[in-house]
Structure formats: structure tokens, C-alpha cells
């Protein structure tokens, strides 16, 4: 995490001005002169369509609700480490198949019901039984969950798993009340510090702090999350002071201007989103290893990052972001080498190759595609861009029908390497039977074996040039310089608002 702008010096003056401005802008603010504000307006693009992430996929809902409204037994911190949340502690049995969690006492859901071990049993069972998303498979490893007392719960796994506890810190680990009567699509009932007060589709969602929260109450009591159709509108809003924080800004060209503004801070956080140049391994010409490798040598990833995303982001060389425990630097595997690429293409008998490049209608994809096409032309691959409306057409044509040769897409989910490359029926069509074996052994092995095994998996994928992870997408946050406690490192899909606070000076 890198802070690009200095905290401003004349804090008092600007804080007062901001307070006055906000008082003028929003009726709900309670900015008595001098006292720190207790409200914040956050701007986002990508609106959730409802509040139920158990049946609706996509990151928009967990982004808003996890850690803020819903909590898990554990949570994932800014460094990507597992930390206690609703469980105060846990013990792992010698054979690493039984996890015994001790729960915090006095925790209540926002509907007033107490949170007990029974709710844990029900929540895990609900993932296995009722969730309609393929994410549910993350709980497949659970054999049984038993409430041994009101505040103690024992989870038995079918076999040791290194990934399970981490997953419990993501949306599949969210705790719901045992007897769930609410319609989750319109009502969120969690143990978190906030509840959803209002949903205005196309406009905003407001969160208010609960006064019966079990933990330390957040400094901000009123959060308005405003949704914008595009990054330009979001940028205008932060520049004009309509919002206090623009989270996950997707307009890199505008950042240079915003960095000059002393009243703002620009933070490039990490994320779990890899921009992937997807090659269809199941279809010509990319069913040929040499052609795939040629593409990876032909693409200058640094140039792609600099040109398409103004250098905001990070080269990763594999599908593993640096915050994952099994990260290794594979960025040197395919140095930019057009001659080598031409050689490989000649060897494969694929000179003067013409391909189609299905590009989803998203700013990052369109920007990346232009650069990639010109670099491919350099080695004799003529890639023709075909715009694919996102999500509808892209999901249909590329993701479901596998009717594509090359595409580019942002994979945002945490620890998704196996989802994308472990299944031959996935849209990439990468079929390596050894991968599944290595991955399974790694998951069941000791933590060291896990790291070693997953690194082997990553190397296999890179070796086979299954696709080209271009760069790690930054989670760029632009905020009022007086706002502190911004969780800019998006190690899971959650946008954690609970630490936000206005500096008092």
C-alpha cells in the first residue's frame, strides 16, 4: 500500500470548510463545528442488484456487506492473514481435521436474536444445501458441524484443508441467524456493526451503525454508498466534494490530476483481481502450446500496464497475487521477446495468424485490448477486436459457449487459480490432469506442503502458457485527505468500512 499524496498541513481549515460544505450538501450530517464528522459518503461503480449474495454472484454484494453488515467466525486482514472475528479463538486437532471455535459472548444479530453455536451450524449447512452458486463447493470439505455448547462449535473436515479457514473469512463464511425468516434479497440480517437502512436503486445504499453491536462501535455512524454509472461521474463527485471517498476507481487517466489536489489522498491498494488475457486452450490456434507461448513472449506486460492503466497496478506473472501465502515471482518467465515469438510461430507453422479477440465492454478491457493487438501485430498475429457487451453477451458467448479464441477479463475472486485452471470445462479449457492431483495433495498437506504444492500448480500453468495474467488490478482509492482508516488493500471482495474515522485536527 502506497500513499501517493501528502496529508495536508492546514488540516483545521480544510476540515472546517469540508464540514461546512457537507452541511450544505447533505441534510443528515451532524457536523457541529470542531467535532469530527460521524458520517461519510462513499462512491462506487457497480451497483448490487439485491442484498443476497447466497443466490446472486458477483462481487458487488459482498463488497458492500461483508465485515460491515455480515461477519464470519474469522476475517481476512489487510495483509491477507486470517484473524479472529466472531470466534475469539480456535484450536486445530493434531490431524488438522477438527477445528474447535470459541465464540464471543453477547453477540446479537441486527434482528435482536442472539448469535450462538446453533447459528454457525445452520449457516454452514445453508451454504451446502441452499446456496445456488458454485462458491458453495468451498464448504464441500466440511463433514459435520456440531454445537458443543452455546459458545463452542466443532467443525470436522473430511480431510485436512489449508484453504478452508481462509474461505471462512469470505462470503461463504458469513453468519446468518438460525431461523432465517427475512428475505435476504431485501433485508440483510448480520452481526456486523452496521445495518442496511435504505436501498435506493440506481442511487445509493445507506448503512447506519447499530447501537447494540457486540464489538467496538465504529467511529462513523452513517455511511452513504453512492453508485455511479461510470468512473468519470465518480471522479467528478470526489473532485466536487459530493463524496468523501471514491473506492475502486477505474479511471487511471484521471488519477494524475487528482494526485495534485492537496485536499485528496490517492491510495493504490492491492486486490485479488487479475486482468487475464484468456486463451481458449481447447480450440485452434491456442490448443498449440507453441502458439500460446508465442503470445506470452509477444506481449510486453509492462507496456500494457503503463499504456492501458497508467502504470497503476502490479505485474504478477501468474494467477497468484502477492498477498497470497503461495505467491512467487514468476514475472520473468516470459520476457518480452518478439523474435522468440516469431520463431515459435514459425515452428508451429502459424505465421500470418488471424484470430478474433472478444473484448468485453469494460474500460480496462478496451484499453488493454488496443495495446495487446498492436504488440501481436508486431509478431505477425492479426487479432481482430470484436466487442462483446458485458455482462450479457460476454457471459453467453465466451464464458458459457466457449465460442472464442482470445479474450480479456478481470477475475476478481480471491484465490481463484484452481477455479479457472483446475477445471477443463471452464471457459479457458485448460486440461492438465496432474494439476488436480497436485492441488488436492497441497490442500491436504501441511502448511509448508500447501505453499510448495500451490507454487507447483502456478508454475505448471505458467509453463503451459495456459493464458496470460497481464497484471494485478489496483484497488485505487481516492479520498478526502482527512479520512483515515481506509482499508484499501482488497484481500477479499469486502470493502471494510469499519475502521474509517475523520481525523480530529
Amino acid at each position: 500500500m502506497q500513499i501517493l499524496t501528502r496529508r495536508r498541513v492546514a488540516g483545521t481549515v480544510v476540515a472546517l470548510t469540508t464540514a461546512a460544505l457537507v452541511a450544505a450538501c447533505s441534510a443528515g450530517s451532524s457536523g457541529a463545528d470542531g467535532a469530527a464528522r460521524t458520517d461519510v459518503v462513499v462512491g462506487l461503480t457497480g451497483e448490487p442488484t439485491n442484498l443476497d449474495f447466497t443466490t446472486t454472484s458477483g462481487s458487488a454484494i459482498p463488497q458492500l456487506l461483508m465485515n460491515n453488515v455480515y461477519e464470519g467466525l474469522v476475517t481476512i486482514d489487510q495483509e491477507g492473514e486470517v484473524q479472529p472475528q466472531l470466534a475469539s479463538s480456535w484450536e486445530v486437532s493434531g490431524d488438522r481435521t477438527v477445528y474447535t471455535f470459541t465464540l464471543h459472548d453477547g453477540v446479537t444479530f441486527s434482528d435482536g436474536s442472539p448469535f450462538t453455536a446453533d447459528d454457525v451450524v445452520a449457516s454452514v449447512a445453508r451454504v451446502q444445501d441452499d446456496w445456488t452458486l458454485s462458491l458453495r463447493s468451498k464448504m464441500d470439505v466440511v463433514q459435520k458441524v456440531e454445537a458443543t455448547s452455546d459458545t463452542e462449535v466443532a467443525v470436522t473436515l473430511k480431510h485436512p484443508s489449508n484453504s478452508w479457514l481462509f474461505d471462512m473469512g469470505t462470503s461463504v463464511g458469513a453468519m446468518f441467524p438460525d431461523d432465517l425468516s427475512a428475505d435476504l434479497a431485501t433485508e440483510a440480517v448480520g452481526t456486523g456493526p452496521y445495518t442496511v437502512a435504505e436501498v435506493a436503486p440506481g442511487e445509493h445504499v445507506t448503512l447506519v451503525a447499530r447501537d447494540d453491536y457486540w464489538g467496538e462501535p465504529p467511529a462513523i455512524s452513517d455511511v452513504t454508498v453512492r453508485y455511479f454509472a461510470d468512473a468519470n461521474a465518480q471522479a467528478n463527485a470526489i473532485r466536487s466534494g459530493d463524496i468523501d471517498m471514491a473506492y475502486n476507481m477505474q479511471a487511471p487517466d484521471l488519477l494524475a490530476g487528482l494526485e495534485q489536489d492537496e485536499d485528496l489522498q490517492v491510495i493504490d491498494g492491492t486486490s485479488t483481481g487479475e486482468v487475464l488475457l484468456a486463451l481458449n486452450n481447447a480450440k485452434p490456434p491456442f490448443d498449440d502450446l507453441m502458439v500460446r507461448r508465442a503470445v506470452l513472449y509477444a506481449v510486453d506486460r509492462q507496456a500494457v500496464l503503463d499504456t492501458a492503466w497508467a502504470g497503476h497496478g502490479e505485474l504478477i506473472g501468474s494467477m497468484v497475487p502477492p498477498t497470497d501465502p503461495y505467491y512467487q515471482d514468476l514475472t520473468g518467465a516470459y520476457p518480452h521477446d518478439p523474435d522468440k515469438a516469431r520463431e515459435l510461430l514459425a515452428e508451429a507453422g502459424a505465421e500470418d495468424l488471424s484470430i478474433t479477440f472478444d473484448v468485453p465492454t469494460r474500460p480496462y478491457a478496451e484499453a488493454v485490448a488496443q495495446v495487446v493487438v498492436s504488440q501481436l501485430r508486431d509478431v505477425g498475429i492479426d487479432a481482430k477486436i470484436v466487442p462483446a457487451e458485458f455482462p450479457a453477451v460476454w457471459l453467453d458467448k465466451v464464458f458459457t459457449e466457449h465460442d472464442y479464441q482470445m479474450s480479456v477479463i478481470l477475475h476478481t475472486e480471491a484465490r481463484d487459480m484452481l477455479t479457472i485452471f483446475g477445471d477443463p470445462d471452464y471457459y479457458i479449457g485448460y486440461d492438465n490432469p496432474r494439476l488436480a492431483q497436485v492441488a488436492e495433495r497441497a490442500d491436504e498437506g501441511s502448511p509448508d506442503q500447501y505453499v510448495a504444492g500451490m507454487q507447483e500448480v502456478a508454475r505448471m500453468i505458467v509453463d503451459d502458457a495456459a493464458s496470460d495474467p497481464l497484471f494485478l488490478f489496483p484497488n485505487t482509492v481516492v479520498a478526502d485527505a482527512a479520512l483515515t482508516g481506509i482499508a484499501a488493500d482488497a484481500t477479499t471482495e469486502s470493502m471494510d468500512l469499519t475502521g474509517l474515522r475523520w481525523s480530529e485536527d
Binding site: 439485491n50 445456488t132 463527485a237
Partner: protein, 315 residues
């Protein structure tokens, strides 16, 4: 008058039938499975099948069409595929927002266009008139979203006088409402002002050559008096036609302006719904737009008869 009304009603029904059938078929031809879009990439095949069954998108098309149009007749637009919300209150809400925006934009346009266009006609031989005419010509060529972007850059970002976007309903306080509505309404209205100015100018020019105006002056009226008492009313008929057509086009232009200003109107709803393949919502919005446009034409017709008594007698 009654016959007039009946013919309009028949026209409305016919237009609606054609429009709903067309939009229904077109949306089904569009690539993109609503179930996949609604549930996303992590949905299992069983979940997709269950979703299609629940929303009836796996049934025969004719049945789907009849169910939808049946609902339309009773004012029930159905439930959104994506948000599970009732569409009727949502659409009613959005119509109000866009309606306010468009009417206010047109009001701004008329307040500018009628005097400016008249002056441009009266002064058509001197520099003032030529300048007004040239400015309006340039105005016609400027896309309204560009005006919107420039307004935001100046009044919201640089000067900080008004919010850069968003919406506040009149019911939630008039001050906030005005602060939010002003920029989008001006953006929408300014280009229309330029267009209508040109029509007013040519209509007034036409009138100035008419015999009745000369007669009025012969009776002893001043030029201005004759123009105001007899001229403008006659110039009104072509201008009202244009205003009607332009309001219809503003309903569409509002789509872009709503995007620029993050205004939750009908246009935003339409765009989001197309993107989400929320077919029922798209159909509903289009049906509402068709009704609005046909109603508008009816009102324009009505305005003719008010402006020109000869048309009343003819019918």
C-alpha cells in the same frame, strides 16, 4: 371532439400493440441469457434451470407475451428479473424524475427560444439578428451530453456551487431538489433552446410577410403590437409541433443526460436493464415511453385547436 379522442385512442392501442410485439421479439433475439446474467458466473446449471422456471423464460414465447401484455392492461408490469422488485412503483417513480427533467428542460428552452427567436427574426437584416442566428446554429450542433460535462466541470468541480450529480425528490425538500435538477435541466434544455430558436425565427419571419400583419398595422397598430397580438399566435402552430417532437426526443436525450449526472430516471433504468438483460423492465420502460409519446402527440393536436380556431371548426 369525441371522434378526435376516439381516433387517438385507437391510434394509441395500435401503436402499443405494434411496439410491444416488436420490442418483445427484438429482446428475445438479442444474445445474452437473462438467467446467466442474473445469477452470474458462479451459478450452477440447476440454479439456472430453476431461475428460468421461476421467471417463466423457459415457456413458449406467445404465452410470455400474453402474460406480459395482460399485466400491462391491469397496470401490473411484473417483477424485475434482477432486483426482484415490483416494476410498477419503480417505473412510476422513474417517470416522475424524467418527466420533471424533460418538462423543466423544455421550459428553460422555451423561455430562451421564444424571445431570442423572435428577435432574431425581427432583426434578421442587421448584425444582432445574424449573431443570434449564428449562435443558435452552433448550439444545434452541440451534443447535450457535452454541455452536461462542461457544466459539471465548471459549476460542480471548479466552482463547487452545485452537486456534480445525483437526485433529490421535490418531496424531500425544495432547496436540495433545485440544486440537483438545475444542471441536468439546463444541459437538456440548452440544445433544445437552440433548435427551437431556429424554428421560432423562421416561423416569425414567415408571419412577418403575411397580409394579416400588414392589415393589422394599417389599422394603426405598431409593428411590435401587431406582432405580439396577431403574429406570435399564428407562429405558434409550427412551433408547438416542433415542441411536441422535441419533447419526445428529449425523453430519449434524457438517457444520456441522466447518465452524465447520475440521475435515477427512466433512461438510467432502461440502460441498466438492457445491460442486465432484465427483459421485463426493458419492455415496461419502452411501453411507457410509447404511451408518453402518443399522449404527447395528442396534446400537441389539442394545442393546435386552442391556438387556431379555424382548426376547431374544421373538426
Amino acid at each position: 371532439m369525441a371522434r378526435h379522442l376516439a381516433s387517438h385512442l385507437a391510434q394509441l392501442v395500435a401503436t402499443l400493440l405494434v411496439a410491444t410485439a416488436a420490442i418483445f421479439v427484438l429482446l428475445r433475439v438479442l444474445p445474452g441469457d437473462p438467467a446467466v446474467v442474473a445469477l452470474g458466473i458462479e451459478a450452477s446449471p440447476e440454479a439456472l434451470a430453476a431461475w428460468r422456471a421461476e421467471h417463466g423464460t423457459d415457456g413458449p414465447l406467445v404465452a410470455q407475451y400474453l402474460e406480459w401484455t395482460g399485466g400491462l392492461l391491469t397496470g401490473d408490469l411484473g417483477t424485475s428479473y434482477v432486483t426482484s422488485q415490483q416494476l410498477t412503483p419503480l417505473v412510476v417513480d422513474r417517470v416522475q424524475v424524467t418527466g420533471i427533467l424533460v418538462l423543466l428542460g423544455m421550459l428553460i428552452a422555451l423561455v430562451v427560444a421564444v424571445p431570442v427567436g423572435t428577435l432574431a427574426a425581427v432583426w434578421h437584416r442587421n448584425a444582432g439578428g445574424v449573431t443570434l442566428s449564428a449562435v443558435s446554429q452552433v448550439g444545434v450542433a452541440v451534443p447535450n451530453f457535452l454541455v452536461g460535462v462542461l457544466l459539471v466541470a465548471l459549476f460542480a468541480v471548479r466552482l463547487g456551487w452545485l452537486p456534480s450529480g445525483g437526485w433529490s425528490a421535490p418531496a424531500d425538500g425544495f432547496g436540495e431538489f433545485w440544486r440537483h435538477v438545475l444542471l441536468p435541466a439546463v444541459a437538456l434544455g440548452s440544445v433544445q433552446a437552440a433548435i427551437i430558436t431556429r424554428y421560432v425565427r423562421s416561423a416569425v419571419l414567415e408571419i412577418m410577410r403575411e397580409d394579416f400583419l400588414r392589415t393589422a398595422r394599417a389599422k394603426g397598430l405598431t409593428f411590435t403590437g401587431a406582432l405580439v397580438r396577431h403574429g406570435l399566435r399564428n407562429a405558434g402552430v409550427p412551433v408547438v409541433t416542433v415542441v411536441g417532437v422535441q419533447i419526445a426526443s428529449m425523453l430519449v436525450g434524457a438517457v444520456v443526460i441522466e447518465r452524465v449526472f447520475a440521475v435515477p430516471g427512466l433512461g438510467s433504468l432502461l440502460l441498466d436493464s438492457v445491460g442486465n438483460r432484465d427483459l421485463l423492465a426493458v419492455q415496461s420502460v419502452v411501453a411507457v415511453l410509447v404511451v408518453l409519446v402518443v399522449l404527447l402527440n395528442f396534446l400537441v393536436d389539442l394545442a393546435y385547436t386552442l391556438l387556431d380556431p379555424r382548426l376547431r371548426r374544421a373538426s
